[in-house]
């Protein structure tokens, strides 16, 4: 599945970069994530509960941040397992300066599903991905506005 999108965030690029590298901040804004722990340099262990159409599952696995070009881009590698199937994804994230206190964040990547998740969830997948993305950015904006307040 192809994941792609762009969002403008009311925050300076360097500041956004700092937030995205902060596991506690990320755990608060990522939908479904109940735990995110740093396990090594730029690697995290994550636990998330996600509902995808007719199936829902508790996912656990690794996140890794690679090819860091501070503050303009990085690659996020996700590998999550669950009882209902596994997800792996590689996503390129790019941060562009829009203005002094505004940043264009775009992402482009692919996700692979397996097991029950693939059999049952495929049909609703892009809808679910869109919803999760919206939730992520909404939470991110809220977090940013409360941080600046």
């Amino acid at each position: 599945m192809h994941l792609k999108g762009t969002h403008i965030l009311p925050v300076a690029r360097e500041q956004l970069w700092q937030h995205l590298m902060d596991p506690e901040f990320l755990a608060r804004v990522t939908p479904g994530v109940t735990r995110l722990e740093l396990t090594g340099t730029d690697t995290y262990e994550a636990i998330a509960d996600i509902k995808m159409g007719p199936v829902k599952g508790s996912f656990s696995g690794d996140l890794a941040i690679k090819e860091k070009q501070e503050p303009s881009s990085f690659v996020l590698e996700v590998s999550q397992k669950s009882k209902i199937g596994n997800v792996s994804a590689i996503i390129n994230l790019v941060l562009e300066e829009d203005s002094a206190d505004s940043t264009i964040m775009s992402f482009d990547g692919k996700a692979k599903l397996s097991g029950l998740l693939a059999r049952m969830g495929q049909r609703v997948l892009s809808g679910v991905a869109n919803t999760l993305t919206k939730q992520f950015f909404a939470a991110l904006e809220e977090e940013l506005s409360s941080a600046s307040a």
């Binding site: 007719p54 009882k83 599903l113 397996s114 693939a118 059999r119 049952m120 495929q122």
Partner: protein, 789 residues
């Protein structure tokens, strides 16, 4: 009274309709445990490690087996029952299919562990605690792509994923020369997509080892319990056959998918002796989608050449057939001897060559599904001839009439020898098409179609005139073609002392109504009431032997075996009657359940003779007591039903949606014992064939994930997708079996699919869109897109 040809209501329906059928999953044994199979979520992956420790200590868990345990115990995988050789004579590639995989999984749903627990839920919960470390590898799912250089290998010892390559018919260069010299050649490249069988009852198996007798009992959802016993005992577990009983009780549909010997059957039998308790495994619907052997999945290029008058001069068919990751029991036979051999169709084509490459892919196994090879052959032929008519501006019915083989009854005239090995038994092809045209009101329809086109309405008509081969036999011939089993049938007719009759058949009923049809044959031949006949089937301890039910073989082969035993009963009965009546056997007539001395009113009833046979006080000298005969019947040839199916569709030009307005089927299945049951078989087959054309299709994504493995995602035909079928029959009896029957179980599914697709193509051509092919299923999106190009 006569029962043959009467629509007797199905005697088995009383229990089915009142919820009293007894299926495998209904059986509960004392001390029974429950198994859950953990399956691979990946199409192709290396198993780096597997940790079962958490699962072992979970509530209710009795035992867990992994691939390593199976390998350590030296248990073989399940075998393949049909061998096809490469063109150069090499044996096909036959990689092992282990009961549980230890090292590398090869399709989504491949079994990696079996958890046995006190309840099904506990087994399932514990299975979720097993931690398998998979390393995902690249997968290939398309049968043609699999054979390309550089494709990921399913089995290391099958280069280019090729299981076999095979050809049949006239030499290729002769066919090529005829095509080169043809006035017109119609060429079509198409996919006959993979479909899921979707029997209403999911598969289930119970293994029981009786420690007091050292005997095993397997209850299983099987279409042929005896063959399952043979494969299980002789090839997988090496246990003596007389120590194994296989029971296939009521079975809720199979459509081919329950012919095969599955790994789960062997697993529950093997493990029941390890843990000394019965084990039940029942598939859930999701597992059924992943692991019940699928059907079809051909990628084909075909060319049909015509002379200036429209006579077919040659046919070349080249197919890549998907076999899946492992060879299911009859997988190699389906795209070869059940497909290539039908490429003559109903036509006099003088040069025919069929070339088939069977390939392994990272998908579930593909094997026989209602029609098995014959629907694929029919699709190829009937799509080509209908398209050729459009391309040449000829009428599709006329083009068929001029190419039909002339009538032959197989008695006065010999059978028809095809270019592709088979000899048709009897055929009379013009009448089925003529009758169908009458039913359609063909001339009026064409006028209506022209008028409709003026108003922008897309009406189309599609034809399919098919032939199929049923009751494959004789054993010596199928053996020469690679079958590792015989294809005869057994029957025992046991007359009880009171004159009631128990019939034991090796055929297996899983929806076909044998308890009614077979009883009609017996009651009719013996002149006794229908309710005096009971049928026993599906139990290897009760029935001597059996080859089961598939390939529309039950009545033609199993019914003929019953007739042989009836004849023996009546011959002996006549000797006893002659003694009692003090007459010569030659002077007796048998009718309406009694023997009568010709020209007199001296007679004795069947019941009296039965009692005499078991109380032999006043009895012919030297005659054995009892009235009980067994027979084995090995047919002289296949039977060859045929017919004509016509679809009339309206395509919505705005949305591409196809509405099937009418469906006409004129089938010739030989003599008919129970017209209502034959109608029902035709109806069911039509629904499945139309389902493939318009709705169904298993989808694997590029990673080998089955992405429509549920009823929310896989479109099955529903009542409102189908019109009320208009059906009729002609009767051309089979010349070589005593009932003159040919078989009706698959006909509906074989003929219907191309008729529907042809109708849509016709509708588009008449609307100005010269589209040659649309990939099935013909969803509105695909049809709409075809109209835009």
């Amino acid at each position: 009274m006569s029962y043959i040809g009467k629509s007797v209501k199905r005697v088995e329906d009383k229990r089915f309709l009142t919820g009293q059928g007894r299926y495998t999953d209904d059986i509960k044994l004392v001390g029974m445990t429950h198994a859950y199979i953990l399956r691979s979520p990946y199409a192709h992956a290396k198993i780096n490690s597997m940790d079962t420790s958490a699962a072992e200590s979970a509530d209710g868990v009795v035992k867990i087996y992994t691939g390593a345990d199976i390998a350590a115990a030296g248990v073989n995988g399940v075998p393949c029952g049909w061998q096809v050789n490469f063109k150069n004579g090499d044996t096909m590639k036959e990689p092992p299919h282990p009961l549980l995989v230890a090292d590398r999984v090869k399709h989504v749903g491949d079994a990696v562990a079996m958890v046995i627990a006190e309840t099904r839920e506990q087994a399932r919960d514990a299975a979720e605690l097993i931690d398998v470390d998979y390393e995902e590898l690249p997968a290939v799912t398309d049968p043609a792509a699999a054979a390309a250089d550089g494709a990921p290998l399913v089995h290391d010892d099958a280069p280019n994923n090729v299981c076999f390559d095979w050809e049949l018919g006239n030499p290729k260069d002769e066919v090529r020369a005829a095509l080169d010299g043809a006035h017109h050649v119609t060429t079509l490249e198409f996919v006959n997509q993979r479909v899921v069988p979707n029997a209403m009852e999911p598969r289930s198996a119970i293994g029981h080892f009786d420690t007091s007798t050292d005997r095993y009992t397997l209850y299983t959802t099987s279409q042929n319990p005896h063959l399952t016993r043979l494969l299980l005992c002789a090839f997988v577990l090496g246990i003596p056959e007389h120590k194994v009983r296989v029971v296939a009780p009521d079975v809720g549909g199979g459509f081919g998918s329950k012919i095969f010997h599955y790994t789960e059957e062997a697993l529950v039998i093997w493990a029941s002796n390890q843990i000394k308790r019965p084990i039940k495994w029942t598939s859930d619907r999701s597992e059924a989608f992943m692991t019940d052997a699928h059907g079809r999945d051909h990628v084909t290029k075909a060319e049909m050449g015509f002379d200036t008058d429209g006579n077919i001069v040659a046919l070349q068919a080249t197919t890549h057939a998907n076999l899946g990751a492992y060879l299911s029991t009859f997988a190699p036979a389906v795209p070869t001897y059940l497909h290539g051999t039908l490429m003559q169709g109903l036509y006099t084509t003088p040069k025919v060559n069929v070339d088939v490459t069977g390939t392994f892919t990272h998908t579930n196994a593909v094997d026989a599904y209602r029609g098995a090879g014959r629907p694929e052959a029919t699709y190829l032929l009937e799509r080509l001839i209908d398209l050729a008519a459009l391309e040449m501006g000829k009428d599709p019915a006329e083009l068929r009439f001029q190419n039909f083989i002339e009538p032959f009854d197989g008695v006065e005239q010999p059978g028809y020898q095809t270019q592709v090995a088979l000899q048709y038994d009897s055929g009379n092809y013009h009448p089925v098409l003529k009758r169908a045209l009458e039913m359609v009101g063909y001339e009026d329809f064409r006028k209506e179609q022209t008028e409709a086109a003026k108003n922008g309405k897309l009406l189309g008509i599609g034809f399919s005139t098919y032939i199929e081969a049923c009751g494959i036999a004789p054993s010596a011939v199928v053996g020469a073609l690679g079958a590792r089993a015989g294809l005869f049938e057994s029957a025992q007719v046991r007359v009880q002392p009171t004159g009631k009759v128990s019939v034991y058949t090796g055929s297996h009923s899983h929806g076909q109504g044998h308890e009614t049809t077979f009883a009609q044959v017996v009651a009719d031949r013996m002149g006794i009431p229908l309710e005096d006949v009971d049928l026993v089937h599906g139990d290897s301890d009760a029935v001597a032997f059996g080859m089961g039910t598939y390939g529309s073989r039950s009545l033609a082969v199993g019914g003929s075996a019953i007739v042989k035993s009836i004849d023996k009963v009546l011959e002996k009965g006549a000797r006893i009657a002659a003694h009692k009546l003090e007459a010569a056997v030659e002077d007796l007539d048998y009718a309406e359940g009694k023997w009568t001395v010709k020209g007199t009113d001296k007679s004795i009833g069947f019941g009296d003779i039965a009692l005499t046979a078991y109380v032999p006080h006043d009895y012919p000298a030297g005659e054995e007591p009892g009235l009980d005969f067994s027979s084995f019947y090995d047919p002289a040839n296949f039977t060859y039903p045929f017919g004509c199916h016509v679809a009339i569709v309206e395509v919505d030009g705005e949305t591409g949606r196809t509405k099937l307005k009418r469906f006409i089927a004129v089938d010739d299945v030989g003599n008919v014992i129970n017209p209502m049951i034959v109608d029902g078989q035709i109806h069911g087959g039509l629904a499945q064939g139309i389902g493939q054309a318009l709705l169904e299709g298993a989808l694997y994504d590029e990673n080998g994930q089955l992405i429509n493995g549920s009823y929310m995602d896989y479109a099955m035909p529903r009542a409102d997708d189908l019109p009320s079928f208009e059906i009729d029959r002609t009767v051309t009896p089979c010349p070589h079996n005593p009932l003159g029957v040919k078989g009706a179980g698959e006909a509906g599914c074989i003929g219907s699919t191309p008729a529907v697709v042809n109708a849509v193509i016709d509708a588009l051509w008449k609307g100005g869109h010269q589209v040659k092919d649309i990939r099935m299923p013909l969803t509105p999106e695909r049809v709409w897109n075809a109209m835009q190009s």
